[in-house]
Amino acid sequence: MDRQMSRAGRPLQPEIRDYAIIGDCRTAALISREGSLDWLCLPNFSSTSAFARLLDLNAGHFSIRPSAPFTVERHYVPATAVLATTFKTDSGIARLIDLCPISDSIGSLLPMREILRIIEGVAGSVDLEIEFAPRLDYGRMRSTFRKLTDAVWRCGGGRELLLLNSNVELADHGSMLTARLHTTAGERRHFSLSYVECDVGTIAPVGADADARCDRTIAWWQDWSRTCRFAGRERDIVLRSAITLKLMTFCLSGSIVAAPTTSVPEAIGGERNWDYRYCWLRDAGLTMSALVDLGFHEEAAAYLGWLLHATRLTRPNLCSLYDVYGRTNLRVRIADWLAGYLNTAPVRIGNDAIKQLQLDAHGQVIAAAQIFAAAGCELDTLEARMLIGFGDVICKRWREPDNGIWEIPGARRPYTFSKAMCWVALDRLLSLHERGIIDLAAREAIFRRTRSDIGDCIEARGFNAALNSYTAELDGKEMDAALLLLICFGYKAASDSRMVATYNRVHDELDCGGLLYRYRPGYDGLKGTEGAFGLVSFFAVAHLAERGLVEEAVRRFDYLCDFANDVGLFGEQIEPRSGKALGNFPQAFTHVGLIYSAIVIERARRRTAQ
């Protein structure tokens, strides 16, 4: 377990990797190593925030930490999303348990959303200080507090209401509630923060009832985790990634958000701050593969349902991203009242990538459906018809330039990976047709011809003979690590000479101390340099494993896993020199990459053993 001296007292925001996530599959909170809840949007991932100290020191926090200097050890309760933070001081040890209870509020009067924080004395005595300073509407609303009963405080009102129920005496300081608490071994105190929107507020009980909710939540997560059928050496980190992915699943629609945060910068002081609280179709194929291969078929079915039906507003064309309900009104607003993480402005709400064209989206969705069907799950007639409609779009538009998988701003370009995903789209449709799952009828010949045309185009113009590598664009010279993914979608075998040469070229040009950049720094035309990309670094592992280089793949996998934080979480990017996390945190796609590469390693091990 990792240890770190407290930076208590310093007016600095924690490192990005110092955060851990808790959630209820509707929203998620980030809690720092020092016990401060610094990010929470309510009621859903992409709603406005109630706590946003992650992005501005004055935008709301809920902190519970020792008054005296302390050290911290953290872990998740095994196979759960319940976080345990242990504070050690000279006088004793206290443990903070953080969770979003998994409760059935239909059969009870439990609240719409709840954050439960339990502080327990473990040894000796510890003096704690508590600060409760919610700031609704991304920090703009400085609500006053009102005491409802001896134990319950309310904040907000009108549309949104926060209710804090605690068996700790709190004092009103105008902008925040505070308390000082002397806790001794065996003592247990509770803070239940409940939220309701446009409804009558309900107060979640504390004391034994709260402990029971905590126990039920632990049992629920452990039961859910038993579904994970990955049994390889990497099971612990794979399961942690699966739980993290589940935390970013929006259970009301089946969608999966890219990350629960916005504008955590990809470069400190740069302009690469994006809102990731939405659902990207480019993640669909690998995400579906991870869910199916781990045995999470219910999540896979819900995700496919979302991919095919929630995207109906734009069908048969697909946008690059949607909100959790499939809506596309995601125009960017700048939250100029927020300073940004480490003063890295602007803070963006919404994402303009919605205006971009990403031709790989169709291939990703079709690949997801094919993976789902190949696992023995059924596609119905309407879904089959939707997939065929996507195929028609591909036949019509595959020659168009687009913004590519990395959403590079500016003029559209003929990205090789996008063309390859168009090939994948038609290839998967033909595969479904051959298996009798869909009926292409007269389109079969058209799809075959177009697939062949796309393949010819990629081989003639997407492979640069002088460089001996596929390139980021047709007739180009730049490298793109996404090309390593072509083996995952069956465009080429890993052992294919062109793929091996491309791997070598990508490694030569984009590797930085065992980590990979997704493309050459500066290729996207944005200011500042971003970090190495977690996801593509895992692609390299999968590539090696597919080629049978298992030991090298495992070595690289273990090396990458060392960049996870103390509770096994990854951000989008990694700063190569310091190993610090960059970008929105935690990042679903990086965890998907980890799961995918672990599965490929395990398959390669089995192949080697046979």
Binding site: C251, A302, L313, G326, R327, N329, L382
Partner: protein
């Protein structure tokens, strides 16, 4: 009104007009709301079957509901298309603000803000004014309901003139 034997036909025409508007708005990408689908999934979890069952139940429901409109017209003795449109508007508002938000609590396959994550519910909830199904949903629903009411009111108006 002295032409009750035509009521059945008018009710069917109004229902079909309303359904066509809702389905057109889906086809054009304004909204994902499909009332026949939501009704059908009360009975079955299979999408294809749900659409057919739902469409049948919805058409019969719309047809039966028309008789409530005719009762309303005769109770206030106003037989005009615009009064039908107003009744349709009120009906649509009720649907958006009361009936659809209630659905997650009664629908066996619909998730709600209050259900546990462990409950396997596959239909997304409509949300405020059913806007989870697209921001234009309230508009298309109200237009469909207004056309439904206006059609019934219009037929009643013609019948009233003919009777007079």
């Amino acid at each position: 009104m002295n032409a009750p034997w035509y009521l059945s036909l008018w009710a069917l025409v109004a229902t079909l007009a309303m359904t066509s508007i809702l389905e057109t708005s889906r086809g054009l990408g304004f909204s994902r709301l499909s009332l026949p689908f939501l009704i059908g999934t009360f009975f079955t979890g299979r999408r294809g079957r749900a659409v057919i069952v739902g469409f049948a139940v919805y058409t019969i429901g719309g047809w039966l509901f028309a008789f409530v409109y005719f009762l309303l017209f005769s109770s206030v003795r106003i037989y005009t298309w615009w009064f039908g449109a107003i009744a349709g508007l009120a009906h649509g508002m009720f649907l958006l603000t009361c009936a659809l938000p209630l659905l997650p609590f009664v629908h066996p396959r619909m998730a709600s803000e209050y259900h546990s994550v462990s409950a396997i519910r596959q239909l997304e909830p409509p949300g405020f004014l059913a806007m989870n199904y697209g921001y234009h949903t309230p508009l298309s629903t109200l237009i469909a309901q207004i056309v439904y009411g206006a059609t019934l009111g219009g037929f009643a108006q013609i019948a009233h003139w003919a009777g007079a």
